[in-house]
């Protein structure tokens, strides 16, 4: 069967969005199927994101808009996949598209339907904390920004009465005849990213959910905290709207619980979201809010999480109480809730709180489970879709890939990483068809407007009655005609509709307009559309000025139409004065070298090279050591029982034979010239210097095991590290089998003041090692001394298995570390057991120190590629949440331990994500600079270098030679157009196109 150059992404949450954008930007047509009326998923409901407490909507909404506007993405909302048949490269997918009853092409989201609708029902986006209408918009920033009619509650659809929405809709968008239909699509691959649903705490009566409104789920609390939530971000408790003085968080609700819940796994994100919520709640409260988190193990295993945990305890004074919950009961007298719990010693306590937040876990949606079963996908014990360590995003069905929580509980960065990997994997099976189904936009030859007298056209939008109902749009248009150089102005009912767009294009051509002002809605959502309209008329798209007379005028001044009209005139006048000074700009382009350089030949680097090759791109691996494989050379087995060295050897054989991959071992980077698209890197190999030319680079420099300086390591031969232990497993199993007692100490060098991060892999490593020992000799005594056991996600099952097999786990505190001594060559370990409340003395034959993962010395690499490293020596990604595998510097990507400690599956996934990002660039064939970049008037420049020092993107530089030697210049391919250099320039020599001083001042003059 022929291959098809399109992919279906199922799920419109953050993982689906990332996969969609990666695929669409790489040249594939994408169908995005989303069950709800708008995309955004769970992340859209969150207030802030950990560990930086970035506003969730702020970082997500540009992505939503990008998906909504992408020429190669077709959005299918209110839709679900019914069946998939066919084979990799050519699948037939049946999608059920539910009736929306509102025509997507006609609806302009004016909201009249909702205003007129008499039905009020629980607003599920706000977790039922407030009501919505039966005709509604999912949330204000929704994409697509279209209403829908909820057929379950609409009176007309049930009883053929009412119909108010249809009567009043100015756009005639309501269609009660709309029908649910099945459509059939042909795609080359499928990416499943349907996400999860929060666990329903009603299943476990002891949590008291439902007994008082003051016991809420974490999702409800997100909405309570949200500035756009039901209470406008005012922290109040639901029962009486009083400000709570004390809030408790209850961890592991529905997770790590097979007695009362159905889930043995750890949901992986709840510890961090509880910490985040506690900190944010304190910030919201203008008083001293008391917050307490009741937990079993604190699992803050991600990048920056441990520091956030420490901060919450030390700086924000969040209380952490290690406990088992007995019950939550409503406090009938004073409101709020009484929490009964047992501490670590087993003593019972009770404490009243004004509110309790249940940190509910993540679970598979039954609909998703049904689909997975229908498709014949293997599931894990927790009901998630099973994948293999070495193919972390592949299902057992070829051509169907997964990412996000459907593959196992995980946080946003890991979901985004997997999404990149899944996009790359899906693309690679149809790489030959890349670019075959994408839309080519035909734009006419651009008109040269130099020398033309300015002819400004002003288009005032009525937006149905959204603007026209308040602002006298006719008056505004008439007024515009009185302004200098305005030769045409008009009012449009809906400027964004396709026919009006065509009309505007025609008008620009017919009237010979060369500057356009559009007074309508928000440029954030609509400016790109009008830019295309200009381009379609042969006018440079940068000759547009957008005025927001809806969100910033008619909607916020509806009580004062006169003032709103005056303001609209003022804004139009300001825009006209600016537009006169706008200049055509172009997106500069440069050839793009198709080769990738990969720094580091460990598992991440090897994987990256293979991924590039699968997509037809050549690469060069630079490895400092004499052999490939990095740390994987020392590991024994993965959590799914695979022999790491065997698998590594397979990968090495594969890269070695691949004609697309060049391997340089014993090699070191000596110098780097150039930037995105055109790097020239000098590499020394065995004393020979050679230059590799490449367009992009993947940093996969890895990390290493910390060499402990405590617990008699290096003194007593029976004290070894985790990697040493793995070597024993491989080479001396008989020796290990003979041992009577083995003790593991966790967090050696991790989570300490000088290294305040969690090394993420060690708990799982130890539990796995303990199980291997029990397999060798079930009678062996195995002790694990830990601080918090962090077997996140379904790794928790290994912990459970280890306990069942008789491995002893004893917790210790940082202030009270185990004491290791040696007497006559015999080791002794003393540790205080918190359950028994007494010291325990152990005499291990072997003491294994699970030592921290520390960064390699990468200062040089960081300087060469102009990329930042953090205090711990790990590289700093472009964005903690949404861009974990790339850098702010264009063309440089990141994978593996160089980013943060992580296990093999996550490293391989990140290599895929880094490659997906790189392919988005490489597949365009050229590098393009934005039209909104800084430029330098080198005659005026004094060469002071301020621009070079202030720019976060290293775009400005000082000319080293030529006529303007010593003067500043700017690399438009690195410039992001923020204008910081422009405002910092002391010689008025730097200008940001579209926001020059003259242009801003012209607006101010016209105030």
């Amino acid at each position: 069967m022929p291959k098809v150059g399109s992919v279906m992404v199922v799920g419109g949450g953050v993982a689906g969005i990332e996969a969609t954008l990666q695929l669409a930007n790489a040249g594939y047509k994408v169908y995005m199927v989303e069950a709800s009326p708008s995309i955004g998923g769970r992340m859209a409901q969150l207030d802030k994101t950990f560990p930086t407490n970035d506003c969730s909507m702020c970082i997500l909404s540009p992505k939503l808009v990008e998906v909504g506007r992408h020429k190669d993405v077709e959005l299918l909302t209110m839709s679900k996949v019914v069946d998939i048949t066919g084979e990799p490269g050519n699948f037939t997918v049946v999608v059920e598209k539910k009736a929306r009853y509102i025509d997507l092409d006609k609806c302009v989201a004016c909201g009249v339907c909702a205003e007129k609708c008499p039905v009020k029902v629980d607003d599920e986006f706000n977790q039922g904390l407030i009501k919505r209408k039966a005709s509604y918009l999912l949330y204000p920033q929704a994409v697509p920004l279209k209403y829908l009619i909820d057929e379950e509650h609409c009176i007309y659809l049930k009883k053929k009465k009412c119909g108010a929405c249809q009567k009043f809709c100015p756009a005639k968008a309501v269609n009660f005849e709309d029908k649910t239909e099945n459509i059939t699509l042909n795609v080359g691959a499928v990416v499943l990213a349907p996400g999860f649903r929060p666990f329903d705490p009603k299943e476990i009566p002891l949590y008291g959910y439902g007994s008082t409104p003051d016991i809420v789920t974490a999702m409800e609390f997100e909405r309570i905290l949200s500035a756009s939530g039901p209470f406008g971000g005012h922290l109040i408790r639901p029962s009486d709207h009083k400000e709570p003085q004390k809030i408790a968080w209850i961890q592991c609700v529905g997770s790590r619980d097979i007695n009362r819940a159905r889930h043995s796994y750890c949901s992986s994100v709840c510890c961090m979201y509880a910490i985040k919520q506690a900190i944010v709640a304190k910030e919201h409260a203008p008083y001293d809010l008391d917050t307490a988190i009741f937990f079993m193990d604190m699992r803050t295993h991600g990048k920056g999480y441990e520091q956030c945990y420490n901060d919450s305890e030390n700086r924000h004074k969040v209380r952490f109480i290690r406990a088992r919950i007995h019950s939550l009961l409503p406090n009938r007298k004073e409101g709020g809730v009484m929490i009964h719990y047992a501490d670590e010693e087993g003593l019972l306590h009770e404490e009243p709180f004004d509110m309790a937040v249940l940190s509910v876990g993540l679970e598979m949606d039954p609909g998703t489970l049904a689909l997975a079963k229908k498709l014949g996908l293997d599931l894990t014990s927790g009901g998630f879709i099973h994948t293999d360590t070495f193919e972390p995003v592949s299902t057992n069905r070829a051509g169907i890939f997964v990412c996000g929580v459907v593959q196992g509980p995980k946080d946003i960065p890991q979901s985004v990483i997997e999404a990149g990997a899944a996009a790359q994997a899906a693309g690679s099976i149809i790489a030959s068809e890349r670019g075959t189904l994408i839309k080519e936009i035909q734009v006419p030859q651009e008109r040269d407007i130099r020398g033309e007298r300015p002819q400004v056209g002003v288009f005032v939008c009525s937006c149905g009655i959204n603007i026209g109902g308040v602002v006298d749009v006719k008056e505004v248009a008439e007024y515009a005609l009185t302004l200098p150089y305005v030769t045409y102005s008009t009012v449009n009912l809906y400027s964004c509709s396709q026919d009006t767009q065509n009309l505007i294009s025609k008008t620009i051509e017919e009237k010979g307009l060369n500057r356009i002002v559009v007074a309508a809605c928000s440029p954030k959502t609509h400016e790109p559309l009008f830019q295309e309209t200009l381009a379609a008329a042969g006018l440079n798209k940068y000759l547009l000025e957008f005025v927001n007379i809806r969100n910033h005028d008619s909607w916020v001044h509806k009580d004062d139409p006169k003032a709103a009209t005056d303001k609209a005139k003022d804004l139009v006048r300001m825009a006209v004065s600016k537009v006169l000074l706008l200049e055509p700009s172009s997106e500069l382009e440069l050839p793009l070298n198709q080769r990738a350089l990969i720094v580091g030949g460990g598992i991440s680097g090897i994987s990256a090279a293979l991924r590039f090759s699968e997509n037809g791109f050549p690469s060069t691996i630079v490895e400092r050591e004499g052999r490939l494989g990095g740390n994987a050379n020392f590991l024994y087995r993965t959590k799914d029982g695979r022999d790491v060295r065997e698998e590594l050897q397979k990968l090495i054989d594969k890269v070695s034979k691949d004609p697309n991959i060049e391997i340089l071992t014993n090699a070191e980077i000596k110098d780097v010239e150039g930037y995105v698209g055109n790097f020239k890197t000098k590499i020394s190999q065995n004393g020979n210097l050679r230059t590799v030319e490449h367009g992009v680079v993947v940093i996969a420099t890895g990390a290493r095991e910390f060499q402990p300086k405590e617990y008699l390591y290096g003194v007593n031969p029976n004290v070894v590290t985790g990697l040493n232990f793995d070597m024993y497993m491989r080479t001396k199993p008989e020796y290990l089998k003979s041992l009577n007692q083995v003790v593991f100490i966790q967090c050696v060098g991790s989570r300490e003041p000088q290294r305040p991060y969690c090394s993420r892999v060690c708990c799982t490593h130890t539990v796995l090692s303990a199980l291997h020992l029990k397999e060798l000799n079930p009678d062996m005594q195995v002790f694990v001394l830990y601080r918090d056991l962090r077997t996140y996600g379904e790794r928790e099952n290994l912990y459970k298995e280890a306990r069942e097999k008789g491995v002893f786990f004893i917790r210790y505190e940082l202030e009270n570390k185990p004491i290791v001594e040696e007497k006559d060559g015999r080791l002794s370990v003393k540790v205080k057991d918190h359950v028994l409340q007494r010291d325990v003395l152990l005499n291990p034959d072997l003491l294994v120190l699970q030592s921290a993962i520390v960064a390699n010395d990468v200062d040089q690499i960081a300087k060469f590629f102009k990329i930042p490293i953090d205090e711990q020596g790990f590289f700093v990604e472009a964005h903690v949440k949404l861009a974990p595998s790339s850098f702010a510097t264009e063309g440089v990507y990141l994978a593996g331990l160089a980013h943060y400690p992580k296990p093999i599956d996550e490293s391989i996934a990140q290599a895929g994500a880094a490659v997906a990002n790189a392919i988005g660039l490489l597949s365009k064939g050229k590098v393009y600079a934005s039209g909104i970049v800084a430029e330098v008037d080198q005659v005026a420049c004094s060469g002071c270098g301020v621009c070079v020092s202030v720019c976060p993107y290293k775009a400005p530089y000082i000319e080293g030679s030529g006529r303007f030697q010593g003067k500043a210049a700017v690399n438009p391919f690195l410039c992001k157009g923020c204008g910081l250099c422009n405002a910092s320039c002391r010689s008025n020599a730097r200008h940001l196109k579209g926001f020059k001083d003259s242009q801003i001042l012209a607006m101010l003059e016209a105030l």
Partner: protein, 154 residues
């Protein structure tokens, strides 16, 4: 005069947070005084002291610069630079006899539509209490003529 004084206020809003917050205030159909006008800038780091001063010269009674929350600037540190420039502008206002309170820096996220409306009201109230800017009367009614003399680009 005081009775009918409606202060003119100009806001420089960054594209990623403050401008989006103002958009959201609209989507939420909040209400704030109509005399607050917004100029969009890619980042508050683009706002120069001269822009703030020029706004006063053009006769506005108050200016505020609104960027992302500190530490969350889309362009990493532009809002911190803006804060310094706002402080510098305040100093200049003080030195020429204007109240520095007429100029302010705010930080908000794109989800803070309510906060944006609050800021607009707060600033209006603040300027109402301060009274009209003394530079107001100095503005020529036909200031538009001035820009007609600007060299027209292209």
């Amino acid at each position: 005069m005081e009775e009918t004084f409606e202060p003119q206020i100009l806001a420089f809003c960054c594209k990623y947070c403050a401008y989006a917050a103002a958009d959201l205030a609209g989507s939420m159909r909040l209400n704030y005084p109509a005399n607050v006008k917004i100029i969009q800038v890619p980042c508050t780091g683009r706002v120069d002291v001269i822009h703030i001063l020029k706004a006063f010269e053009s006769g506005v009674d108050g200016v505020f610069v609104a960027g992302c929350l500190e530490g969350e600037c889309h362009f990493l540190k532009g809002n911190l630079m803006a804060k310094r420039r706002v402080n510098q502008a305040k100093e200049i206002l003080r030195s020429v006899g204007l109240e520095p309170e007429r100029c302010e820096m705010f930080n908000l996220s794109s989800a803070m539509g309510v906060r944006f409306a609050e800021i607009a009201r707060e600033m209006t109230q603040r300027i109402k209490e301060l009274g009209p800017s003394p530079l107001r009367d100095k503005v020529k009614p036909d200031s538009l003529k001035k820009f007609l003399e600007y060299p027209i680009a292209a």
